[in-house]
């Protein structure tokens, strides 16, 4: 009896089953997100991760096995990182119009985001692993995962923080910008993309197409810059 249960759990943990479950969970997440009128807290990834957790707990498949048997998704995440070159290339023309303000804001903002996160976390008692995993907090997730791996942080922590920051920034970003009375579409978009990567960019597109384009640019440039700077910085210290 015990053996047949073990066989069943082994079957449930094989790649085709766990990848099907993951795809189904993502589909469910997308449906519920639209039902929730694209409210950032109902982000498809949040719902899908919750659904997968329920599956793992119910089936007795360990997270380690699940992660191991879905590793092809991690490989494709690297392919998606390469793919980011295309939207970056397509938004490059926006840089020419606003070269100086954009590039200064990019360098300052892309430095401020990880520096403030690491400093705040250090002040309230973060350990070294946590600090390393927070460095890529404002960067689009595939780049954050790659960077965190290369400097020795915890990938699951980095990915989780990036997703949380994306959702939080997309929620509070527009009201903060209103409160500051910032109406410039370039500023609103670029800020959302720099701080909240893909989730912020999606939010910016909902508010205004011009803001959306600047948000994609903010996302891509911040990712590109951070991808170079953090590993080099880490190498120096």
């Amino acid at each position: 009896m015990g053996d047949s249960m073990d066989d069943f759990t082994a079957l449930l943990s094989c790649p085709v089953v766990v990848i099907t479950i993951t795809a189904g969970a993502f589909l469910l997440g997308q449906k519920l997100y639209i039902l929730c009128k694209r409210f950032p807290l109902c982000h498809p990834i949040v719902i899908a991760a919750a659904a997968v957790t329920v599956f793992l707990e119910a089936s007795g498949v360990s997270y380690a096995e699940y992660k191991n048997n879905t590793s092809i998704l991690g490989m494709l995440l690297g392919t998606a990182t390469v793919a980011l070159a295309v939207p970056l290339y397509q938004q490059l023309h926006l840089i020419r119009a606003y070269a100086r303000p954009l590039l200064i804001t990019l360098v300052a903002g892309a430095f401020f985001a990880p520096a403030s996160a690491v400093l705040l976390a250090w002040l309230v008692g973060a350990n070294k692993t946590t600090l390393l995993s927070l460095a890529a907090k404002s960067v689009t997730t595939p780049i954050a995962v790659a960077v965190t791996e290369s400097i020795g942080g915890i990938v699951a922590l980095a990915a989780g923080v990036v997703i949380v920051v994306g959702i939080f920034g997309a929620l509070i970003g527009p009201p903060i910008l209103d409160r500051l009375n910032i109406q410039d579409k370039a500023v609103r978009g670029f800020t959302l993309g720099l701080v909240s990567h893909a989730v912020g960019t999606a939010r910016a597109f909902e508010l205004d197409p011009v803001s959306g384009a600047f948000a994609s640019l903010g996302l891509a440039l911040t990712g590109a810059l951070t991808a170079i700077v953090i590993p080099l910085f880490w190498l120096l210290f």
Binding site: V52, Y98, V118, V161, V165, R188, L235
Partner: protein, 115 residues
Amino acid sequence: MRGLFILLLFQTLGEVGSRVLGLPLPGSVIGMFLLLGTLMIIGHAPEDIDKCSQTLIQNLGLLLIPAATGFGYYLIEVQGQILPIAVAASLGTVLTILFTALLMNKLIQRNDNHG
């Protein structure tokens, strides 16, 4: 298919470059820059690469689910680190929004004033 092949080819080139040259950059990031440079040289993004990129980027969420699921398990393991993680994610994000928006707004106003 050609689009996917080219993206995988650049990913492979990036991985090889990262290892052979001993660069601290992740292979996929090197692949991204190699592709960006190539697109700038040829002057346009070929349709099949554009399509494949869009498909991957639109479904990025699916590729992130294993890591996002791990976040919950990780937090249960290291409860002592929840406070710093929460402070960095919340306060850090508010400060970064304020800093970025105010700085860029100031720079654009100055740009406009100077013509």
